[in-house]
């Protein structure tokens, strides 16, 4: 997976976490996932279709998810389980929306679908056509994982292979 596809997601996560939760998010680990991704806390998935195709999962450990719900609601009350799931979905929407905005403005045309709660214990993994990269971010409020399984569609892939695309 090319770095020009990944970097917007890293930038976006850092910016959105800073804006909404008031803290930094540092990359602690990056792995290529060949098996199925196992979520570690509360997660939401967004699909993208078009010249870039695939899905992205944002997964927050329970501490980070609870804190996100509190910060996004702007209220100190303990959030309900539903509120925590909603908060993670909305945060995912913002992170991925901001990232795909950067990609789209670079010329990639694709559609973003509404976020959905990612409830399965095992889910997307790498395939022959789609590599999956998992990034772990550490924040003072907990751990966040970003699982990116996207690929260029055929025309873009050909262009990319021919060196037409540059970051």
């Amino acid at each position: 997976m090319k770095m020009d596809l990944i970097q917007p997601f890293v930038n976006s996560l850092d910016a959105v976490i800073s804006e909404t939760m008031g803290c930094t998010a540092q990359i602690a680990d990056v792995t290529m996932d060949e098996g199925h991704y196992r979520r570690s806390g509360i997660a939401a998935l967004v699909s993208v279709t078009g010249e870039i195709h695939g899905s992205v999962v944002l997964d927050m450990d329970n501490q980070a998810a609870q804190q996100a719900a509190t910060d996004l609601a702007g209220a100190p009350d303990t959030p309900t389980e539903d509120a925590v799931r909603e908060a993670v979905c909305e945060l995912t929407n913002m992170v991925i929306g901001n990232a795909v905005t950067q990609l789209n403005d670079r010329g990639f045309k694709f559609k973003v679908h509404p976020p959905e709660v990612y409830a399965t214990e095992e889910g997307q993994g790498g395939t022959k056509e789609t590599e999956t990269i998992v990034m772990r971010f550490e924040t003072p409020k907990g751990t966040i994982y970003l699982n990116i399984a996207i690929r260029y569609n055929s025309r873009r892939a050909r262009d990319s292979a021919a060196g037409v695309l540059t970051a």
Partner: protein
């Protein structure tokens, strides 16, 4: 942060319709509307519901998400503005690429703001849209991100 209550044309409260498929996002926008001294007269979770809510409530301002199930925000804008050219619709979306913004503005949206929303930025945009609409009922839109 405290805001001076929004006003327009001597109305006691500006009436808002809040459209977003995320209940969480709607709650947050409603909280901001109240902080701005406005009144939420309707909520909708998709474009289809937004159209019927607009017809039922005739709000002063609509805060409209883009990516939603059933009918997306831009299509809903087109329907609403077709029937109500005076509608003041501000797009509020995390997806802010040029094509989307231009499309929304061409369909009749008055402004755009990208999530995460900064309260002071949204307040300024609403003030601008209200004053612009009062001066020029069918103004074309602007962009704020």
């Amino acid at each position: 942060m405290e805001f001076k209550p929004l006003t327009c044309d001597g109305k006691p409260k500006i009436r808002f319709l809040v459209v977003d498929d995320s209940i969480f996002a709607r709650k947050n926008l409603c909280r901001l509307v109240q902080a701005f001294g406005g009144e939420v007269v309707g909520e909708a979770g998709d474009g289809v519901a937004a159209i019927s809510q607009y017809d039922a409530t005739h709000p002063d301002i609509v805060l409209m998400d883009i990516t939603m199930p059933k009918m997306e925000g831009i299509e809903a804008v087109e329907h609403i503005v077709h029937d109500h050219p005076e509608a003041c619709i501000v797009m509020v979306s995390s997806v802010g690429y040029q094509d989307n913004i231009l499309s929304a503005l061409q369909k009749g949206a008055r402004h755009f703001i990208q999530k995460p929303v900064k309260p002071e930025a949204l307040y300024e945009i609403i003030q601008y849209v209200l004053s612009d609409a009062a001066a020029q009922p069918q103004a074309t839109g602007d962009v704020h991100s």
